[in-house]
């Protein structure tokens, strides 16, 4: 079955080349776009949906769990995924690729960074930041009730990158413990609460994200990432995350055949860090609804997306 799926995938990719010459019309069946639970992703869903609609396609949106969505793409219940983050979703995405039925549609222009992060005011509480050694020196101000006197680093959910954080703390012999939050909501709640009385926190964060706007904050600087430096890859583990992770797009393997036009556009779609930040800001800062924000972005950036058609 797996084998068959791979053949089918290959055939689909092959027919893409043909599709360009035959110029077959898109199916009128709706292209199903998933919405997860963070702003930029939802707004971008409506932006991409709007682009598809502008060429006469039908679109429908479906709320989906961000990990389970790849399984649904394989089954054809969802057509695309437009924000596949390297560190958080690569496991689910790769599992789905192995199982077949899903295709990799390239990357966005925006690179991603995922690393330990602190809000701007923490810089004053712990001079010497963003260096990791400085962070380690003032570990005590990051201590919490459960951290047993050490500094507490609030990581994302365990399934995002699992053992890696623990490996790094051990390899660098840091005076920190890692606590895994259960959801991104938990991360933001902790950040918000800490900001209210200028408490020192260091949490997992990524960019582009809504935290890029406003007062912002900075990523902690760890020893530079080199290929194979991570423990899981056989290295000593004394390094940070890759400074430029990928942000991919994925689609159901039949998309090139069923919606050749839309697929061509989706292939071209490539948002920059600025685009993503703007989309998020329209909702998070200006208080617009996701649909309205998407409409505004499409209106303001016509030149950008018209070029992809």
């Amino acid at each position: 079955m797996k084998f068959l799926n791979k053949i089918a995938t290959a055939a689909a990719v092959g027919s893409l080349a043909l599709g360009a010459t035959i110029a077959q019309a898109d199916s009128k069946e709706p292209i199903v776009i998933p919405t997860h639970n963070w702003t930029s992703q939802i707004t971008m869903a409506y932006v991409i949906g709007g682009i598809f609609e502008s060429i006469g396609n039908n679109v429908s949106y479906v709320p989906a769990d961000s990990q389970a969505v790849y399984e649904s793409i394989r089954n054809g219940d969802v057509t695309i995924s437009h924000e596949v983050w390297q560190s958080t979703f690569s496991k689910s995405f790769n599992n789905a690729l192995d199982a077949g039925g899903i295709i990799d549609v390239g990357t966005h222009a925006s690179v991603t960074q995922e690393e330990w992060w602190y809000p701007a005011y923490v810089g004053e509480l712990c001079p010497g930041l963003p260096s990791w050694e400085a962070l380690n020196d003032c570990a005590d101000i990051f201590a919490t009730a459960g951290s047993g006197g050490k500094g507490r680093y609030l990581d994302g959910p365990m399934d995002w990158h699992g053992q890696e954080t623990l490996d790094r703390i051990e390899a660098l012999d840091m005076d920190f413990t890692a606590k895994f939050a259960g959801s991104s909501g938990a991360l933001w709640a902790e950040l918000e609460s800490a900001a209210k009385d200028n408490r020192a926190v260091v949490v997992f964060n990524w960019s582009p994200n809504f935290t890029d706007a406003g007062d912002g904050g900075s990523f902690v600087e760890f020893p530079e990432y080199t290929d194979g430096c991570k423990k899981a890859d056989g290295g000593d583990g004394k390094c940070g995350s890759p400074p430029a992770g990928w942000l991919k797009k994925a689609a159901h393997y039949q998309m090139p055949k069923k919606w050749p036009e839309a697929y061509k556009i989706f292939n071209n779609v490539s948002f920059t860090k600025g685009d993503i930040g703007n989309m998020a800001a329209l909702v998070d800062i200006d208080g617009m609804s996701h649909e309205a924000a998407a409409a505004k972005w499409l209106e303001d950036n016509e030149a950008t997306w018209k070029a992809w058609l």
């Binding site: 199916s27 009128k28 039908n58 769990d65 959910p157 909501g185 609460s193 009385d197």
Partner: protein
């Protein structure tokens, strides 16, 4: 020796002593299988389950399916085609109701095609203006239950519209209006079959137990793979969760029908179908209606979780707003969910109790006055809305549809409240936070983690034996041994530690509150209403404020769990105490006891079996919420269940982990039920 056999507490004391000795003697380093069961083939179980399900959906009974759109023939399986057909039917029903309320094209597409719709833009169902729906709710309420109900239904609809939650609320409503009837129908049918066939009942009972105590997240992935993603998947997972109580209550009600009534039906010449539908089921209506109430509550309680697999509506909006820390907005959305639950519950109850008037001989316009009134309002509101959009073409048409951004909102107020609360109490609670974590929770967790497998199984078996003899001992040991054989014994111990703490605190709070409130009928009514509200109010809403106060820690999780798990403890205490037979109370009063003595000597002992069932529910509620607590951040079974969403063998792993959680609950459930039954027999109130 005689003394020892007679007194169970003495047996317990000895059991605990032996357990303690065993726990100290078995050393982690040298204990081997006595300490933790080492890796066995059993660890492959998740993979086996996963592969079996995969085989079922991907490779079992392969058929060719022609895709006319792409003009290719693809492989599919019978199971997949079957589940997708079910999905299609459910999805069509949801879309039909949704588009009648909100407008849309999918219903039309079901009879034509997407090409047709794309070429004929007019072919769509227009949305109803919200005042028409509100008037409809008002009229339905009036028709079924008179003035109070009409005001409740109408006002709730207006609240939803005015607060700009129209679209998500109607999405949720359409999904609930499909899930509730399916659950009720299935529950009724399966309950009726179980009533007729003892064999079927025997098979069904353990399945119901597992379905009711399995965390929802454990079966989300299987549902996605078998049924796809979308509103139908949400509805189907809701049905899985909401049907078991309906089955149980149907069966209970049918069994309570007096044999004479059955005979009266038979002698009236009913055939077996008439006997079931005209005599038995209506006679069991009291319990069946409680079942319907449970179904409605469960369906709305699932609104948030169903959004993980594609259900649109209030639940999804709530998750998004929580993720953006918009607590006020989440609160308003939560209120809408509760309102929909309450209105549906009351309407269904009124509908079931409605009486037909055979004697009235009314003219057409009076007989159909409600339908006519609705038609009139529909035309009137549509005309108004249309005219308004003509006159003010550029303005927002408040008489037709109120968008999220245009509605009222109290969210600023709530945000300020939460803000104020956190700013002002944060420092105050930190002492408590520190004390709880370092002096209570961490030592407790350590203690639980130091429980060797052998000692724990001994304790469990012994408890089972003391409570219910050999049979109970075997059952509960089997449940716990299953967990011990998986790689997740430590995780299960952490779940057990959190559950134990939460249950103890919930029971203390719940029972005290229940005892206090049962003293006055007025307070009883109020507390039961509060219980109902909190049970449907999405528990996700409390997660974020709790994190802000107590950080990402076990304490946060436990506080959220306790808020939720106190509900059944309170409810059952109130019910148990208010149902103590009056004759016994009078007998007590006549023997000259004072109020406190009456409570301690008469009411509490008599209500105790019922309260124990409440504690049983508390355990189940606590386990559910601990799993949801994984969204805050835990390191127990719940975290692994979340993690299984991204694993390659996630389906199997999720199910086995879910079973581990379910088995903890079922072991406790078995012990408490056995004990409560014995106790009721002794007290003669079975």
């Amino acid at each position: 020796m005689q003394y020892f056999i007679k007194h169970k507490w003495a047996q317990f004391a000895v059991l605990l002593a032996v357990f303690y000795v065993l726990a100290t003697v078995i050393d982690p380093a040298t204990g081997g299988n006595w300490w933790r069961i080492q890796e066995t083939r059993f660890w492959l179980l998740p993979d086996v389950v996963n592969n079996a399900l995969r085989f079922l959906i991907d490779d079992f009974w392969v058929v060719d399916v022609y895709d006319s759109e792409l003009d290719i023939t693809e492989e599919s399986t019978v199971v997949k085609e079957f589940t997708r057909t079910v999905s299609g039917v459910v999805l069509f029903s949801i879309n039909l109701i949704r588009e009648l309320l909100l407008g849309g094209v999918k219903t039309v597409v079901a009879f034509t095609s997407w090409e047709f719709i794309s070429e004929h833009k007019w072919a769509r169902i227009p949305a109803l203006p919200w005042p028409a729906v509100a008037a409809g709710a008002f009229i339905v309420g009036h028709c079924l239950g008179g003035r109070n109900l009409s005001v409740l239904a109408g006002a709730s609809t207006i609240y939803i519209a005015v607060f700009g939650q129209w679209t998500p609320a109607m999405q949720t409503l359409s999904f609930v209006l499909v899930a509730v009837p399916i659950s009720c129908f299935l529950g009724l049918m399966l309950g009726a079959i179980a009533y007729k066939s003892k064999a079927f009942e025997t098979i069904l009972a353990p399945l119901l137990n597992v379905a009711q105590s399995m965390p929802h997240f454990a079966y989300l992935i299987p549902v996605v793979i078998f049924f796809g993603i979308g509103d139908h998947a949400g509805a189907i997972s809701t049905v899985i969760f909401a049907t078991p109580p309906m089955i149980r209550l149907t069966l209970l009600g049918l069994k309570k029908v007096p044999p004479e009534v059955l005979e009266a039906g038979t002698m009236s010449g009913c055939n077996s179908r008439q006997l079931m539908f005209r005599v038995l089921i209506p006679s069991a209506r009291h319990d069946i209606l409680i079942g319907v109430n449970q179904v409605i509550m469960q369906c709305l309680a699932m609104a948030v979780i169903a959004s993980f697999i594609g259900a649109k509506g209030l639940g999804y909006e709530l998750l998004v707003s929580l993720n953006m820390l918009k607590i006020g907005q989440a609160l308003e959305l939560g209120v809408s969910i509760v309102l929909i639950a309450v209105v549906l519950d009351r309407l269904s109850l009124a509908w079931a109790n409605k009486q037909a008037d055979y004697l009235a001989d009314l003219p057409f316009h009076l007989r159909h006055k409600h339908s006519l009134a609705f038609l009139g309002i529909l035309i009137f509101t549509s005309v108004i809305a249309y005219v308004a959009s003509m006159v003010f073409p550029d303005k927002v048409n408040y008489l037709y549809f109120i968008d999220e951004a245009q509605g009222f909102s109290t969210e600023k107020f709530w945000d300020v409240m939460v803000d104020w609360l956190i700013t002002n109490t944060y420092q105050g609670v930190q002492g408590f936070n520190f004390f709880m974590i370092t002096s209570v929770l961490m030592p407790m967790k350590e203690a639980f983690l130091s429980m060797p497998v052998a000692a724990t199984l001994f304790l469990v078996a012994g408890t089972g034996y003391i409570v219910g003899g050999l049979r109970s001992a075997v059952i509960v040991t089997a449940f716990i041994a299953f967990i011990a054989l998986t790689p997740w014994w430590d995780r299960a111990l952490i779940t057990a530690y959190m559950a134990t703490f939460a249950v103890v605190v919930s029971v203390i709070i719940g029972c005290s509150m229940g005892i206090l409130c049962s003293r006055s009928p007025r307070a009883t009514r109020v507390i039961l209403l509060v219980c109902d509200t909190f049970q449907t109010f999405p528990s996700f809403v409390y997660l974020i404020p709790v994190i802000m106060l107590f950080g990402v820690s076990d304490l946060s999780v436990l506080i959220a769990v306790i808020v939720y798990a106190t509900i059944p403890a309170t409810r059952y205490t109130v019910e148990g105490l208010t149902n103590v037979p009056q004759a016994l109370q009078d007998a007590g009063s006549m023997s000259g006891v004072n109020r406190l003595q009456r409570l301690l000597k008469i009411e509490l002992p008599l209500a105790f079996p019922h309260i124990m069932l409440g504690i049983n529910q508390t355990v189940i509620f606590a386990l559910f919420m601990i799993i949801i607590g994984a969204f805050i951040g835990t390191d127990d079974l719940g975290q692994l269940i979340m993690q299984s969403l991204s694993e390659a063998n996630g389906m199997g792993q999720g199910i086995i982990l879910g079973l581990c959680v379910a088995f903890i609950g079922l072991a406790v459930d078995h012990l408490i039920h056995t004990w409560a039954e014995q106790r009721k027999q002794v007290l003669g109130i079975a």
